[in-house]
Symmetry: C2
Subunit: 238 residues, 2 copies
């Protein structure tokens, strides 16, 4: 299996993703939100880039039971139903709902992947299921969403965990960035709290009162859901 | 000291370099060529992006003793005086000469740094001198040139060595990518041959017969020259 990593959303290029199987990783917190909500019975996420676009889309989908979801600067957007805290996406809130979703980093990545063969959503919480799903595939690109248009260590170490795990199951051919992230990950024997103790985005969330979200998102393998993009929507296929 | 790293040339953005002290790293081989040639008495390098631009510039500078230098796909360009092998830049060839220089990756980076406060050239061979020069500075951006518009481990591990060394001398504030590269570097206790054994660009050079260049470029601290960019030229200031 050939594995490459794209370091952050704005570095996505067509030649890097075309006809490849892509995993979008935005650990803190969009990926973790989508996995959790689909586990709890949400119909689908519709990722959009701007707050205005989200509000416009909500009017168009008048036949579906819509929720407006997402964040800017880590906080819930004015007038939106839900923010970007995964544990707020409970069954009683999201079951049967279609969620229009806009975040600072994760949805930006999702809207730049039209040429990919398939697009999946990855995070620490669904890692085991994700690795299992990829055992039969051959050409994988891990897209780290990043933070504010820059590299973010939380996403990068999640990509590294994927590489570390799948390497135990099959032969891999790693790009330079894949090798580098794996070495960094192994330096601390995969201890996420130690690896991420100086991660900018993680510490920003803690300072803004989202320490519980951070702990939730750093749990491994708490969900079997691997969301997939189908016709512009993120859904649970099986 | 605040330290950030730009992963490869095409990810240079104005907001990341503006008014900062920038070190351009293209270990294999442009940085190593420039350090070696300036050590051997070359007047200056004029970095240009294209082969055609190099030929045009050579006509303009008719009063200077010009050499056309550089590579494409690792090989010397037709009709050029020198390729990208640092050890070919001997005193008898380069002393007193102005070198018009175009390479696949390194000169691309150099021509995107107009807004930087100052631009220096770094490689393993001048690391000690580079660290010494930066002891009094506060805001540093390490620009990895990369290979074919992608991340390259040789440049990244050179950036990591800089961080590892300067961290012994003064307090540092590291970006997420800086932290990650440093951890990868430390995983193999800084053993460059072990770190870079699967580096794509390094192995390409070896396959193309440039194994001696690789060994030369991975030597640490063999030169005291820290090239600087002044008015679009790379020169030795002292």
């Amino acid at each position: 299996m050939k594995i490459d990593v794209i370091p952050y959303a704005s570095t996505i290029r067509r030649d890097l993703i075309e006809n490849r199987h892509v995993i979008v990783i935005d650990v803190l917190r969009a990926s973790s939100v989508m996995i959790t909500a689909l586990e709890n019975g949400a119909n689908a996420f519709i990722p959009v880039s701007t707050v205005e676009e989200a509000r416009q889309k909500a009017k168009i989908f008048h036949n579906e039971t819509i929720l407006l979801c997402g964040e800017r600067d880590t906080k819930t957007i004015d007038g939106f139903h839900l923010g970007n805290s995964p544990q707020a996406y409970t069954r009683d809130k999201v079951e049967g709902r279609t969620l229009i979703f806009t975040t600072s980093n994760g949805t930006l990545a999702l809207n730049r992947l039209e040429e990919a063969a398939e697009v999946y959503i990855g995070s620490f919480i669904n890692m085991k299921a994700l690795v299992h799903r990829f055992l039969e595939l051959e050409d994988v690109v891990l897209v780290c969403a990043g933070t504010n248009n820059n590299f973010s260590m939380d996403d990068a170490m999640c990509a590294a965990l994927f590489i570390d795990e799948i390497k135990k199951e099959k032969a891999v051919l790693l790009s330079d960035l894949s090798i580098t992230l794996l070495k960094a990950f192994q330096k601390e024997a995969g201890d996420l709290h130690l690896l991420l103790k100086d991660c900018y985005h993680l510490n920003l969330l803690k300072r803004n009162g989202f320490g519980d979200d951070v702990e939730y998102c750093l749990q491994k393998n708490s969900s079997d859901v691997v969301p997939e993009m189908r016709s512009g929507r993120i859904v649970k296929v099986n």
